[in-house]
């Protein structure tokens, strides 16, 4: 099954999305899963176009709601392998509540966040992860807010798999994505991704990104890495096993005897 589609890719040359697309394609190529079981969900933003670039089942949904749709898909059919793609504006601004609850519930799905710390498709406004002082078109004198730390947030929210990847290292990102898809439970991958047009962070990331060797044993150590500032640790920062939301909540369909229930209401 080939993964490329007829759709012409319309991301800017040099966009970090290419690295994420390549890493994902390579990951599913190497994972011997039945590709027909894969279902992708993408949100609104530049990242969302990824649904058109992959010959897999997909739902290009509305802004911010990717985690909720992943939950709905898995509750309906737990045999499907659900992978979400979201942007930072998508996941950390518009739909933050869904992200936190997906982590807390431990929905068995992967969420890959294309985190370029800017709204690209709407031409350059600050998002939740934009640096303090970021001069966007809606913050001409600089963003006055401190950036959100999504990895720390996901650790605090109970995500059972938390990773940070870098779009500039597709082979490392591929390994993270493979592990994320194999993980049973909510697997969160924040991908540092430069936006060549509105927030070009290639230089910053080349200097600061640092691959960790092993996944920390404790959540405290994971949190320390998540919050490190001198360098930016990438890799799988935390993983644990616990029951998934579908296992807890899904009821096997059956032909209900409604007439009998109505009889009992006499």
């Amino acid at each position: 099954m080939k993964l490329a589609t007829q759709a012409k890719i319309v991301w800017c040359p040099g966009c970090g999305n290419f690295g994420i697309l390549k890493a994902f394609k390579d990951a599913v190529g190497e994972l011997e899963v039945d590709l027909r079981r894969l279902v992708l969900v993408s949100g609104v933003g530049c990242h969302g176009k990824i649904a058109d670039y992959l010959a897999l089942s997909s739902f290009h949904t509305i802004h911010g709601r990717v985690p909720a749709m992943l939950a709905g898909i898995k509750l309906a059919n737990p045999e499907l392998i659900a992978v979400g793609f979201a942007g930072d504006g998508d996941a950390y601004n518009e739909g933050l509540v869904h992200l936190i609850h997906a982590a807390k519930k431990n929905i068995d799905a992967t969420l890959i966040v294309h985190d370029n710390a800017v709204y690209g498709l709407t031409t350059g406004q600050a998002t939740a992860t934009s640096a303090r002082g970021f001069r966007g078109r809606s913050t001409p004198e600089g963003n006055p807010e401190e950036p959100l730390n999504p990895v720390a947030l996901m650790l605090a929210s109970g995500a059972s798999f938390v990773a940070r990847g870098y779009a500039g290292d597709a082979s490392h990102l591929k390994e993270i994505i493979k592990e994320a898809i194999l993980h049973r439970g909510f697997a969160f991958v924040d991908v540092l991704q430069p936006c060549v047009t509105f927030n070009n962070t290639w230089k910053l990331y080349r200097e600061k990104v640092h691959k960790i060797k092993d996944t920390p044993e404790s959540i405290d150590e994971a949190m320390r890495l998540a919050r490190a500032e001198d360098e930016i640790p990438v890799g799988i920062l935390y993983r644990e096993e616990r029951s998934t939301y579908e296992e807890e909540m899904r009821i096997e369909p059956r032909d209900a005897d409604v007439s009998a229930l109505l009889e009992r209401m006499r």
């Binding site: 589609t5 027909r36 010959a55 089942s57 709601r65 939950a71 709905g72 899904r250 007439s259 006499r266």
Partner: protein, 544 residues
């Protein structure tokens, strides 16, 4: 025989539960029963009431006039006193100059039960007052609470014996027939949807839709329905779209404010052609309004909800039985036409329990149009004459769905020609829905004549009872989108009125828009549903 009694106290006195147990006494004796609940948005204190109407004929609404008030608090008495002939009250808690003094609190202490149990003594006394065998009441307690029913049964007996000695019987209520089913509109709608193949129910709690969530959650294994209360209404709606995309029949429940939050997802369901049934039970607005009170203010809102244009199916049931059939019908239609549908309920219908005869076998899961071709050639949005594209689901096919405008395969497009053809394909489904509704019951008519009372939703009940008395015809508009112009235009009308619980006359405006009918407005917007008694003089004003 047609009589009403009321039970009233504060929140926490078990008023609703007592009202339902008392109602079941008479539904089991074969009578028609209607239970109207009044309560406030608080957990303890305030004013709660259950009005139970019992009749040997079908009852469609509550009645204000009554035999008896059972008062569990002194301060509720003035509110009800003018509507009832006598009062039975808890003389352990307070004293009145008149009425039946029953030491309910003292009985509760005797059996070491907390005060909330004392209404069982009142129901025991009620059995004596209406000449009902005490054993019937004990049986209802046993069915409801099993082994935990012991104290209720003891208290009922104490109340019954005391009443036998001290109170005069009000009337003798003999068995009238076989036991009847007693359920409210929310329960009925939930079961109708289940009968049509419901697999998932998602809802964030909001009065008056919340009891659907409770009802289905409690029976989820028996019914085979996954029931989830997600983080908010937006999640509920988007989860539903995800589940339907993966092949499961799904319903979302909410009220007006929650449905407002779902607007973007509603539009997504229209664009991506995902069948989702929304149960919207209206309450008194705007905004938070009077959260526990009745209204029919959201008709225009639901008809125009979601941005952009897309086919939708909206219908509103007129009573508990209708709620069952319409919920099933709408779930089937949503799947047949792959578009969102709204079951527009209201507080009075959702939460009033009535006796109902439901033929569950009239509703079944009707299969949608399924794809039978080669998996590799699947086109989710195949352009067809009917506008309906065959359905298939992953993992059988690669299925690409999207909220963006798209081509037949589901790839994003902004091509003028492709987008135009796809837009028209979606809108063409409306013609099929109209043809389908012509075969179904788009309106219900009651009575004869050329003086016509139009109504919708739960206002139907009071309108039908009042119209029977005055010899008028009632037309309940069941389907509101597409509007059944074909049914309305064939009516022969001399004079028309329109009964609805809102300010502007929303159904009346639809009658004008679609059929040039000018109907006199009979509306209210005080959170209270109409009773037949109130409607009779207002209809007389219109029809002379």
């Amino acid at each position: 025989m047609d009589f009403t009694f009321r039970i009233s106290g504060m929140a926490g006195d078990g008023v609703k539960g007592a009202g339902m147990v008392a109602a079941r006494l008479f539904s089991r004796l074969g009578y028609h029963v209607f239970v109207h609940l009044e309560y406030q948005s608080l957990i303890r204190g305030g004013h709660n009431a259950a009005l139970v109407r019992v009749s040997s004929r079908k009852v469609r609404c509550h009645s204000d006039r009554g035999d008896l008030l059972i008062a569990l608090q002194d301060y509720v008495v003035p509110r009800h006193r003018n509507y009832v002939e006598r009062v039975l009250y808890d003389s352990s808690g307070f004293s009145l100059d008149e009425g039946y003094a029953l030491p309910m609190g003292e009985f509760a202490r005797q059996v070491k039960a907390p005060p909330v149990f004392r209404n069982a003594a009142a129901l025991g006394a009620l059995c004596h007052l209406y000449g009902v065998e005490l054993e019937l009441l004990s049986g209802i307690y046993r069915d409801a609470y099993g082994e935990k029913a012991e104290k209720d049964i003891l208290l009922a007996e104490l109340g019954y014996r005391y009443a036998e000695e001290h109170f005069e019987r009000i009337r003798e209520v003999k068995r009238a027939g076989e036991a009847r089913a007693l359920l409210d509109g929310n329960q009925s709608a939930a079961l109708g949807a289940v009968k049509a193949g419901l697999r998932c129910y998602y809802a964030y709690p909001m009065t008056p839709s919340t009891s659907v969530l409770h009802f289905l959650a409690a029976r989820r294994r028996e019914l085979g329905v996954t029931v989830v209360q997600p983080e908010n209404e937006i999640a509920a709606a988007v989860m539903a779209i995800g589940s339907a995309f993966a092949g499961a029949r799904v319903m979302v429940g909410t009220s007006g404010g929650g449905f407002a939050l779902m607007q973007e997802a509603f539009s997504l369901a229209g664009m991506a052609e995902v069948p989702v049934l929304f149960l919207e039970s209206q309450r008194s607005g705007p905004s938070t309004g009077m959260p526990t009170w009745h209204a029919q203010q959201d008709l225009r809102f639901v008809l125009h909800s979601g941005h952009g244009e897309f086919p939708r199916i909206v219908a509103s049931p007129g009573d508990v039985e209708d709620a069952f059939y319409l919920a099933g019908e709408l779930l089937n239609l949503a799947w047949r036409y792959q578009t969102p549908a709204v079951l527009l309920m209201d507080r009075y219908l959702s939460e009033s329990a009535t006796t109902a005869e439901i033929d569950a076998e009239r509703v079944r899961e009707e299969p949608p149009l399924l794809y039978r071709g080669e998996p590799g050639e699947y086109r989710r949005y195949l352009i067809t004459d009917s506008g309906v594209s065959p359905l298939a689901f992953p993992p059988e096919v690669v299925l690409k769905a999207t909220g963006n405008e798209h081509d037949e395969l589901g790839f994003t497009t902004d091509d003028a020609e492709v987008s135009s053809r796809m837009y028209e394909k979606r809108m063409r489904k409306m013609q099929g829905i109209v043809e389908e509704l012509r075969q179904r019951q788009a309106v219900r008519t009651f009575g004869e004549g050329r003086d016509v009372v139009f109504t919708w939703g739960s206002s139907t009940g009071a309108a039908v009872e009042a119209a029977e008395e005055l010899g008028l015809k009632v037309v309940q508009v069941r389907y509101l989108s597409p509007f059944p112009t074909w049914e309305v235009e064939k009516l022969s009308i001399e004079r028309a009125a329109c009964v609805e619980c809102n300010y502007t006359g929303q159904l009346a405006s639809l009658l004008r828009e679609h059929a040039c009918i000018e109907a006199e407005l009979i509306t209210r917007h005080d959170g209270r549903p109409f009773t037949a008694g109130e409607l009779v003089p207002r209809l007389e004003e219109v029809f002379g």
